[in-house]
Point group: C2
Chain length 553, copies 2
């Protein structure tokens, strides 16, 4: 490929309103061009990366005998009405009326459509299980499109859907997909956290989110060495704060970030230094036990206050620590009654322990953890942190939710029609692209994971010399024949600028053809080694490069 | 790949309302699933073919250093208003209003957007020329979606756009793209006709259409051994017929097919046997010359009639032949004033000659051509036929039409801003898929062109025998390792049904593992050779297949 034709024109100036380092680099390289809020064109280099990601996905899917189909973007509204998502997603759905006054949805996802397609096939149990996947543009009428490719009106999603005859079988496929997605992200060297999510939603039974930790986000989650949870702290607090109906929601957010827990302002409480324990209503806790454990260090607040709060939907215990002047929020409402969470005010650390009351772990441990001379066996704990993260994949065990609503059935061994057990498995490809770049930025640009390197080699040559040009193109074409994935820089700029650009873009190997060609010498350089050039005789260049690049592969 | 997972479930019954043979086969194989009028899901086998076509296109583009970008589907309405296509295409455009009440277009094509993107780059002349291509879903609010993938609401298009600094250079790119498209269609063994189109439209200067001859169409074009022309006879006639405002448009169509030219019914004419000549207004024709040439055999109609007609947008001359009682329509309005077309009434043959008047070719030749004892040198003529066809690609030399309207400029060597010279090059991928199938149907199914074979080999084996199953999968996995593109039929049906399905789908090679495995024998069969099986010892099967498939490649 020729650099000019491939549109390698890095920008000298970057829009001053971009603070995000990743977006600065993406824009400087010219990887995307903004068309409108949340709508972008993918320029050649980013499209190259996109295709490499697609081929990794395709490979993993094929290996597991999962088959690709291509569903349309525009879908009749009636199936969206059947699942009520036409109404639930109302403002978020992009829809239109055609000239025959028929409504269509521009798909944000495809549960409805695939369930409808499979319904019409009238499959029998012998033909199951089936998993299909689909890589397609999706749409959402986002109000606030921000952060480049993270929150978009038009985005690329890889989704998959499983169809099973039983709950047990569908869990098997769910686990399969979970593992395949792990493999996919491992293949692109992306460190991810898998979060368990709560099952409050009617639409699914189990759900896991794949998150990437990043400061460039407003989403929070809890993670330890062992587990990650999508604690939607913000929502929990909001729920709690409904008591007081505080209007300034922006403040709440700020408080969460700083762990100045807003509960302090709750009208039932007057003092500032208060421990707070939130416990799910379903959780039957022996109050005496709590008292026993906690009494040394905590004081349960007056019953009057507690009772007032207890009338609300979640049980709330306010505990006041006598010695430690720190605030703690204890919340098990999100973790199926298995966990309690303690949030410290000063340090961004959290401790979580499986059903702490049953294990009779004393709460002073929680205090000690914050001290420097720590004698606690940390193996009993998972130290949790609240991290900002971005969700890149979300998988759902759907049960019969969609098959029931779409009336999608298979024929069982008794010749009876039964609803499918389904699963749904999405990867946000567009945002994944940006996250990959963010996670691979170094001081001079992008250092791509091996599987995603756009070109393995670039040939830079001095212009205005026909002999040098000829030699350079000769090397280029010969290396192409050797199946080396390379580009030649035919732009009329000096070598220094060229190398800066390619280091920014993240090409690992460089050949420089300059005046030393008179002595049959060509320079070779590796990315990030500023002034270390290796002189190679032109006769040896092909063997040299062939060996080098194979190592890189 | 496993047949069950790949959703190989051919239908036993085909919808009785499908008359088209191609659609019958497409539906029987289950290649597409209809979602709504003009909206389809591409099932695994068709998607496989689609991917193969894409990779052929990608290969040809890359070879010519043409770079792929990915433009969004939804585009702000303002650029569409600038080129007036928002108003011109009004009912055909699919559009919507988002929740902020901003209008968006769902792209039917991308001239506007690419011109806008390139405008913002502020390129200089050294960075040009550039060609970009884009494979993306496109949309049209079609009133009558018919014939499977031919006329769709949502379709896949490959489009390309060229940007040049001069008219001359842009012609160079236009010719390049014309040749690349020829290569692409040649690679999939598709016989095409390239039609020159008229330049009546403001939006382009030159345009060529790629057509495939098919009976399953309502479009007509003229083709000879040398050239093809998109004579839009129907439209020309309609224009002419406006004089009389005949309402029964269906009749006109019928007349064209039979060459009973409807002009006979024109109110200005009373006799039935009349020659008609249509000449473009721009064409300055020496009437004396015409008279000289034509006078022997033709009589120009009374001036009164001619003048009446001349007030209309096109100049029309009515010529009456004295001897030959045949009707002729002569029309040069469509061919840049270079051609005249003669249509004979009796036989479906036409003769076209480059600027007949300049060459002083006598019109009696046209008469003679119809006689059996023909002494004319046919090399001077191209015998044309009217054929039904489907357009699969259309390329346009756009000049400065879009760059002017979008105000898209580059900086020339004088540091002045100048409008781009552009070209636009589209391939209708969705309909191409259907046409390829239509052109490759044989008596038992589809015989794919070599470059598009979905799988080279299928392994069929008898079920309910564990040893046979094991051996079959052993062969399958070993051939996979040998990089053979194959599928194993794990459906629980008998071998006869399996083979019928695979012959229908168009797999060229079959291995059958049955009871002969006791004697270490496996059967091998080629498509279309019904009962000719070759017995192969299991030890020799891998070498045998490896050699066979390589021949097929």
């Amino acid at each position: 490929m020729l650099a000019k034709k491939f549109f390698i024109f890095t920008l000298k100036k970057i829009l001053s309103n971009i603070n995000n380092k990743t977006l600065k680099i993406i824009n400087k390289i010219g990887m995307i061009k903004k068309i409108s809020s949340g709508i972008y064109t993918y320029m050649p280099i980013l499209l190259l990366i996109l295709k490499k990601i697609k081929s990794i996905i395709n490979y993993e899917m094929k290996k597991n005998n999962i088959t690709e189909i291509l569903m349309p973007i525009i879908q009749p509204s009636n199936i969206w009405k059947k699942t009520k998502r036409w109404y639930k997603m109302k403002n978020e759905l992009l829809k239109f009326k055609n000239r025959k006054k028929k409504y269509f949805v521009m798909q944000p996802t495809s549960e409805e459509l695939i369930t409808y397609i499979i319904k019409k096939e009238l499959l029998n149990y012998k033909q199951l299980p089936l998993i299909f996947y689909n890589i397609q543009n999706k749409f959402r009428d986002e109000l606030r499109c921000k952060s480049g490719l993270i929150r978009l009106k038009e985005f690329i999603m890889k989704d998959a859907y499983s169809f099973d005859i039983s709950f047990k079988n569908s869990i098997k496929n769910y686990k399969l997909m979970l593992n395949i997605y792990k493999n996919i992200f491992n293949k692109i060297n992306l460190k991810f956290k898998i979060l368990k999510t709560n099952n409050k939603n009617m639409e699914w039974i189990i759900s896991h989110e794949f998150h990437i930790i990043t400061k460039n986000s407003n989403n929070y989650f809890l993670c330890s060495n062992l587990n990650s949870y999508n604690i939607n702290l913000y929502n929990t607090l909001l729920k709690f704060l409904n008591f007081k109906k505080i209007k300034k929601k922006k403040k709440i957010k700020k408080y969460i970030i700083n762990y100045k827990i807003l509960i302090l302002k709750n009208k039932y409480l007057k003092k500032k230094e208060i421990w707070i324990l939130l416990i799910n209503k379903k959780n039957k806790i022996n109050k005496k036990k709590i008292k026993n454990i906690l009494n040394n260090k905590f004081k349960i607040l007056k019953k009057k206050i507690i009772n007032k709060i207890k009338k609300k939907k979640i049980d709330i215990f306010f505990l006041r620590n006598k010695r430690i002047k720190k605030n703690i929020l204890i919340d098990n409402s999100l973790y199926n009654n298995k966990y309690f969470i303690f949030i410290y005010k000063n340090k961004n650390k959290l401790i979580i322990k499986n059903n702490i009351f049953k294990n009779k772990i004393k709460l002073n441990i929680i205090h000690n953890i914050n001290k420097k001379k720590n004698k606690i066996d940390l193996n009993n704990f998972n130290i949790l942190k609240i991290k900002k993260s971005i969700e890149i994949a979300h998988i759902f065990l759907l049960g019969k939710f969609y098959s029931r609503l779409i009336n999608s059935k298979y024929i069982n061994y008794n010749n009876k029609k039964k609803f499918f057990f389904m699963g749904s498995y999405g990867i946000g490809i567009s945002r994944l692209l940006q996250i990959i770049i963010e996670k691979n930025i170094d001081k001079i640009g992008i250092k791509w994971p091996n599987n995603l390197i756009p070109f393995n080699l670039v040939i830079c040559f001095i212009k205005n010399n026909n002999y040098i040009k000829k030699i350079s193109y000769f090397i280029y074409y010969k290396l192409l024949l050797l199946n080396i994935n390379l580009i030649i820089d035919n732009r009329n700029i000096n070598i220094g600028y060229m190398l800066n650009d390619w280091e920014l873009i993240g090409i690992p190997n460089y050949i420089i053809v300059g005046n030393f060609i008179k002595k049959n010498i060509i320079s070779y350089k590796v990315r990030k080694k500023k002034n270390i050039y290796k002189n190679i005789n032109i006769n040896k260049i092909f063997k040299f490069i062939f060996n080098k690049i194979n190592i890189y592969k």
